[in-house]
Amino acid sequence: MRNTRLLFAVALTASIAGLSSFNAYAQQYAAVDTTNQPLSNEVCATCHGGEGQGNPVVGGPSLAGLEPWYLRKQLENFRAGIRGSQKDYIPGNEMQASVARLSDAEIDDLVNTIAGWKVIENDHTIKGDLSNGEALYANCAACHGADGEGNEALGAPGLVERNDWYMFRQIKLFKSGYRGVHPDDTAGKLMRPSAQALKSDQDVNDVLAYINSLDR
């Protein structure tokens, strides 16, 4: 039988940067004077998984590996209600509520912290026809890059190492007008026609299966 080594826990990685930014996030509570309150500071991970690896049941996608400029843009969009504010879209509401009170400085901190998270291999959950997917992806490549590497100038994020279930939902959201319709959402509006061009769920699956094949 193994001896107890419980209390001699080993420090694995000391991500001190992480510490300060999470505390910064916690400061949003300052608005209600939380002096001396034991604050839990891992609120993003509650929905996005330990180290932001994504949680399909809660619906929070993986954050590790997101480009800092894209991450910042999305946090600002959620905060401003440009994304996620439709009352009948619960996952968007949940995310929106989570960041509605962030200050610019807190967003800076979060972007830095998340940059330090390591990308964990995603489970591929979608099956599709790779050759049809590859043909469809030709339209996407103009903005997202031939290898799905993204294009900052166009505001198009990289699509590799992302949760396929999340991307599936986003394409549906773009199609049905839950994303990419707000007057101030210029980047989203750029994306929306491409989503609408994918006529069936099968097309969406096929193109995502191809995008999955670009992983790793």
Binding site: V10, A14, S15, I16, D33, S40, T46, V57
Partner: protein, 530 residues
């Protein structure tokens, strides 16, 4: 055009239901108190020079139960809790406490007095929940009675009596009177084909007369049981006028008015003196060094001869190794935590849906309900707040905490409002029950359990249909109940057939300990079969 139903048709409907015993049994199985007994696991004392180690994830009722029993047997125990407090869903809110709702954190501003608390999660302990009571006794948690049903409270429905609230006693008396009358009339009917003999019919008539307070002709014409319009002590009492059955039928709250003393809330109910979390404090007195706070588990890995858990504390990661892991983290959060469980086990973890629940409370500047003969109990309304609870404790003190909304299984409507809107909604709806409400309440707090940090739910929802577990659901449930690699147990009310009760959380921990003991003594091989 309205279709009228004759008395005979009503009787036919009753008889049809009565004829089908299976139907009755099915409803028993759904609504009625399940069996529970106290059988604390008998754990053989550990060899002090070679103590088995256990890491418990989550310091709710299930985790603390496992930790306490294993510690008593000499195991080396550590409890890792992500929040800054123990208790999980067992949460009592007092002056200065944080409500860590994602996007809507609040600090409670109630007056700082022992009776001024709010049980934001569990609030009732049925006397049939013997294991909860067992631990209350063992841990020195003082109990008092909880009042669930009180006929002096109100029933209010916008569709009934122009939205005017009516005392539950008045509602119940009238409803029961008319129902007894309908039954009596039909039983005197010669068409009955004599299923009962004369003596039986007379016995039934006597009972119906008493149940419904019917007159000599077996008619319901009002009853003093519904309350007096005036008089009663020095002068003759005059009954309130009867309310027509047709008016009462306008509300769907019938079963709420009449049926609260049944099912799980039928037995005598208790609450700990000073708040439900006295139970948690009792556990912590026996586990003074074992529980670690603000440590968020980020990885759980089975190994050949044990389990490795990684957690994060203040931005720094730590690793712990142990022989066994008892894990009460909600399964819908475990799916975001790195692990190497089998595909089957992962599939089972991902199945239960997150439940919703919403509660809110006010500090009342004065105990206005007591002036209305209300001491404890619940008023029911058809508005989204659904319920108003009056504290059964703190009688005749200056102030009290009143529950201003309770929707178990729903409440998303409130979640989407800002804190200010939630408070205003509770006041506006409460005003329909208590006219001067707005001026009597202050310092509102609200809790959406499906948004609480480290929780995001009220209780696991295994069943997609009300008719019970499907075969597939049963398979997933059994998969998750079995230990992963003989080392990792999922515990909590989430892995029982009766979620949303502390009794279930305790029994899940007992089940896991007993299973571990059986496997140990049966020489089962550790690790995963490959």
């Amino acid at each position: 055009m309205k279709k009228f139903v004759s008395r005979r048709e009503i009787l036919g409907l009753i008889a049809k239901a009565g004829a089908s015993g299976a139907v009755l049994q099915a409803s028993n199985a759904l609504g009625i108190v399940p069996d529970s007994y106290v059988d604390i696991p008998k754990i053989p004392p550990a060899d002090p020079s070679n103590r088995p180690s256990v890491v418990v994830l989550g310091a709710g009722v299930a985790g603390l139960t496992a930790a306490l029993e294993l510690k008593k047997a000499g195991y080396s125990v550590v409890v890792l809790e992500a929040a800054g407090r123990a208790g999980g869903r067992n949460m009592t809110v007092r002056h200065g406490d944080l409500i860590d709702e994602v996007g809507n954190p609040q600090i409670c501003d109630f007056d700082d007095e022992p009776h001024m608390y709010f049980n934001a999660g569990p609030a009732r302990i049925p006397s049939s929940h013997r294991n909860v009571l067992h631990y209350c006794k063992e841990l020195g948690v003082e109990l008092e009675f909880f009042i669930n049903e009180n006929k002096e409270t109100y029933i209010q429905d916008d569709a009934m009596l122009d939205g005017k609230p009516i005392k539950n006693r008045e509602f119940t008396t009238n409803a029961r009177g008319f129902m007894a009358e309908i039954m009596a009339k039909n039983f005197t009917n010669a068409e009955l084909d004599q299923p009962f003999d004369q003596w039986e019919v007379e016995a039934l008539m006597r009972a119906l007369r008493r149940i419904g307070d019917l007159d000599e002709d077996m008619l319901y014409k009002g009853s003093i049981r519904g309350g007096y319009s005036h008089g009663g002590f020095l002068e003759h009492g005059h009954a309130l006028e009867a309310v027509a059955l047709r008016d009462l039928l306008k509300t769907d709250l019938f079963s709420m008015a009449l049926g609260q003393n049944e099912g799980e809330t039928g037995p005598m109910l208790f609450q700990p003196v000073g708040g439900m979390d006295q139970i948690i404090k009792g556990f912590l007195r026996k586990l003074p060094d074992e529980v670690f706070y603000n440590v968020m588990v980020t990885s759980v890995m089975l190994q050949n001869d044990g389990i490795e858990v990684v957690y994060e504390h203040k931005g720094i990661k730590y690793k712990i190794e142990a022989d066994y892991c008892f894990n009460s983290i909600p399964t819908h959060l475990m799916t975001g935590i790195d692990n190497n469980f089998s595909a089957d086990y992962k599939e089972a973890m991902a199945y239960p849906r997150r439940g919703e629940a919403y509660k809110s409370a006010f500090q009342a500047k004065e105990r206005f309900w007591e002036k209305d003969d209300i001491f404890g109990g619940i008023s029911w309304t058809n508005q989204p707040i659904e319920q108003i609870w009056y504290p059964p404790h703190g009688m005749y003190k200056e102030k009290g905490i009143i529950l201003s909304a309770y929707n178990y299984g729903g409440g998303m409507h409130f979640t989407q409002l800002t804190q200010e809107e939630r408070i205003e909604t509770a006041i506006r709806q409460g005003e329909k029950v208590h006219p001067n409400y707005r001026n009597l309440v202050e310092k509102g707090i609200t809790i959406a359990w499906h948004r609480m940090n480290h929780m995001l739910g009220c209780s696991a929802r295994w069943q997609k249909s009300r008719s019970g577990f499907t075969q597939e659901e049963e398979r997933l449930f059994q998969t998750l109940r079995q230990p992963a690699g003989n080392r990792h147990y999922t515990i909590g009310d989430q892995i029982t057939k009766h979620t949303a009760w502390q009794e279930s959380a305790i029994l899940s921990a007992h089940w896991a300990i007993n299973d571990m003991l059986t496997r140990k003594s049966g020489g089962a091989m550790p690790g995963q079969r490959v």
